[in-house]
């Protein structure tokens, strides 16, 4: 039987690996779903929620940007899908209070920056990135 083996990997650890029915995520070209026997694909993943549907239910991960590869089927008809992300976490592991605090901190930072030195691009980018991460965590944890 055709199966899909999904691996969600960060530089520090393999976050999750196991058999799945489908992998749902969004690339820069739009939403996509990987099913067993999907063709070989390499692509990016934009920051968002990556869902893995398995027989035991759905697992969701907040992925802060990354890449995926669907490898060729091996002899037993197993399709391998790998998601590589610099930062990612299980939505159930998200600390909502911490994310909320981070969001407020980033917003305050941004407000201070716009008032202060609008030329400081690096600080602006950092604060923006922090805000986006916090917002994604909150969104991911909410559903």
């Amino acid at each position: 039987m055709a199966t899909l083996k999904v691996e969600i990997v960060t530089p520090e650890a393999a976050l999750w690996r196991g058999e799945a029915n489908a992998l749902i995520a969004r690339s820069s070209e739009g939403d996509f779903t990987i099913l067993p026997q999907h063709t070989e694909t390499v692509g990016d993943i934009v920051a968002g929620v990556v869902r893995v549907q398995t027989n035991e239910g759905e697992f969701a991960f907040a992925v802060h940007g990354g890449y995926f590869q669907v490898g060729p089927d091996d002899v037993e008809g197993v399709t391998r899908a790998t998601v590589l992300a610099g930062v990612a976490e299980r939505t159930t592991d998200i600390d909502v209070a911490r994310a909320q605090a981070a969001k407020e901190r980033a917003e305050a930072e941004l407000a201070a920056l716009t008032k202060g030195d609008p030329e400081d691009h690096a600080a602006h980018l950092l604060a923006h990135a922090a805000l986006e991460r916090a917002e994604l965590r909150l969104r991911a944890a909410a559903n």
């Binding site: 650890a13 996509f32 790998t82």
Partner: protein
């Protein structure tokens, strides 16, 4: 007097034993760090291999685009060398061997007429090069023992900036590779332009012929390259840390053994000195008694 010698020896034995305690403790700490840093290397492997596989796939998918982005420069005017050493000493030859390899590379690049810029990781690296009259542009300190991915990102962006601006045409990495607990090797590799690993990490058993890309390969590679750089630097940092701990553990074990030997020798000498002084004392007493008796 003889008693003074004995007291001196006693003091030296105490010093040796105190040092032994420290080296023993450092050995044990290093040993526990080895296990931890080795586990981190293992945990990082799927990510590193996955990143390499994606680069290979992408390079195969559009060789022309890959050539534009990843090709060897024909004319290298300036090169950047990133050297990964440790933050601490007392680790045997770990720092000196990686630093020497770095110096060799810098010298050979200079001999070819290339301008060389140096960026260093680890507290031990910058002083070494400054002392020899090289200019170290930036030195990262504080995470060589336990690098995090964020640290690797910081290093990667610093290293990539002059390359992206076209100031340097090549970036090299000199670091210690952790092959196994028993063997660590200093290696020099080219970081930028990214080299596509020749041998696939994992040969696929069945090929379906073509691969889809989202987005197009050129765009994908463009954004992927910095991520791949981060990944390579991160695994180099992890392996450097593991090599450092291994090296330190070995050095400290040797130091502990030395202290054991030294302590044993000193104890022996001290015992002899004590016996000598006792003998002398008895001789003096006997001599004195003898003199008193004959004087009567």
């Amino acid at each position: 007097m003889a008693g003074g010698q004995e007291r001196n020896l006693r003091r030296r034995i105490k010093t040796v034993n105190a040092t032994r305690k420290i080296t023993k403790a450092m050995e044990l700490i290093a040993a526990s760090q080895i296990t931890r840093s080795q586990a981190r290397i293992t945990a990082n492997r799927p990510f590193r291999d996955g990143m390499r596989r994606i680069i290979i796939e992408a390079a195969k998918g559009d060789p022309a685009a890959a050539k534009r982005l990843l090709a060897q420069p024909e004319n290298v005017e300036s090169a950047l060398v990133l050297i990964v050493a440790g933050d601490r000493g007392l680790s045997g030859a770990y720092n000196s061997s990686v630093l020497r390899a770095g110096e060799r590379l810098v010298n050979s690049l200079r001999a070819q007429g290339t301008n060389v810029r140096i960026i260093a990781v680890g507290k031990k690296a910058a002083p070494y090069f400054r002392f020899r009259g090289f200019n170290v542009e930036q030195s990262f300190i504080g995470f060589a023992d336990r690098p995090s991915f964020a640290d690797a990102r910081g290093v990667a962006s610093t290293v990539a900036a002059p390359y992206i601006d076209g100031e340097v045409q090549q970036v090299f990495l000199v670091s210690t590779r952790f092959l196994s607990a028993g063997s660590q090797v200093v290696e020099t590799e080219q970081l930028l332009p990214l080299s596509v690993p020749e041998a696939p990490v994992e040969t696929s058993t069945k090929l379906k012929g073509y691969t889809e890309f989202e987005p197009e390969v050129e765009q994908l590679l463009f954004f992927l390259a910095p991520r791949a750089l981060e990944s390579e630097i991160f695994s180099a940092l992890l392996e450097g840390a593991a090599s450092f701990h291994t090296s330190q553990q070995r050095a400290m074990a040797a130091a502990t053994d030395n202290a054991d030997d030294l302590g044993q020798n000193l104890t022996r000498i001290m015992n002899r000195a004590r016996q000598d002084s006792i003998t002398t004392e008895i001789m003096e007493i006997v001599g004195g008694a003898e003199a008193l008796r004959s004087g009567k």
